[in-house]
Symmetry: C2
Subunit: 185 residues, 2 copies
DNA sequence: TCGTTGATTGCACTCAGTGGCATCACCGTA
DNA sequence: TACGGTGATGCCACTGAGTGCAATCAACGA
């Protein structure tokens, strides 16, 4: 006999995201999430460090993939180009099939200062991962950090444009465009 | 007759910072801060939106000064150079006399994930202010945002080095150095 | 058969942050 | 001089996030 229904983590994540979409983040309590998932409030905090984390679940894996792509860039490439190339490659794998979900999540985050705050932390984590990959390729510390943040900025400018209603272009195109805009300014 | 001792805001800020230095941020409660300042807990929240804000009090004014300096840069200058020049000018005015305080605050922030999270928001606010100033000078949106974040990254790389024990160099030198490191990488 | 492991539960607690209302020195004005 | 408005402070009660601790009990391995 099965003691518990399987995949408590996934059920909590789904319950949370659907409630956030329905009611907004602030008006949803952890008790409601747990109830919809058929679990105890305490169990939520065994799977997620806090209520905000559930929105960004899976981010770390994306960061790893991006860093891997950057480390694989040819060794002559300058740091900013290597970072952008890595982001473009990873974005084809990670984001392209996923646009409606991303738009919905984006709206939830845009409506909540608390979630925007956490998103900034996630950007910093990504910038750090990119900087670490660049350092591994021999880039100096300052240049790696600055290139990391510049690349992250391009990525989010591009993701904004990609999320606009009516957009048809793939994310990697828009990253490339932001990069060129920066270089020629 | 004076109804209240003057400068509740300043007393709360001083009480909070001294407690954070003594005990750390997480172990200090708002009730303790209010008690040390001789005020009510509720009064704290009349002056600061939350417990984290007290650490970053005055940030907005700095952002304004930096943006003003950037807007004053000669119109031929490319965006990244204009942003860096603005940061260098403002850093001489804002930070140079203030090093010990900055080091203490830096240690408090470094010990608290909650404060690091808020610091990321403050960086984003600064990046936005820089980007807005650049847009006013005619820079395209994407280039302004990316230059803003790149400049902020240089600023914080430089501030880290400036905070190292034994450092004698002024902050603006270190910003310039980070900029050159990025450009030649 | 039996001891261990690990996911889940339940409870009690601290503390951040909020809403609403009362207080009353201070200030401008009649 | 009187008076009504303003705004900083205080008090109380409340919600909800997050934590520490101990109990439960199917599943698993020896």
């Amino acid at each position: 006999m099965v003691r518990w229904e399987p995949d408590a983590y996934g059920r909590l994540r789904d319950a949370a995201l659907s409630l956030f979409v329905e009611q907004g983040f602030e008006k949803t309590t952890v008790a409601q999430i747990a109830e919809r998932a058929g679990l105890n409030r305490r169990t939520f905090f065994h799977h997620f460090a806090d209520k905000r984390e559930v929105v960004f679940a899976g981010q770390l894996a994306s960061d790893d993939l991006i860093a891997t792509e950057i480390r694989a860039q040819p060794s002559g490439t300058d740091p900013l180009h290597a970072a952008v190339a890595g982001l473009m490659l990873a974005s084809d794998t990670l984001y392209e099939r996923y646009r409606e979900g991303a738009i919905q999540l984006g709206a939830v985050i845009a409506a909540s200062p608390e979630l925007q705050e956490r998103e900034m932390v996630k950007r910093a984590t990504l910038a750090d991962a990119i900087a670490a990959a660049l350092r591994d390729r021999g880039t100096s510390d300052a240049a790696a950090v600055v290139s990391g943040w510049a690349a992250v900025a391009m990525f989010f400018v591009a993701r904004n444009r990609w999320n606009q209603p009516g957009n048809q272009r793939p994310l990697s195109d828009l990253i490339d465009e932001a990069h060129k805009e920066f270089l020629t300014a």
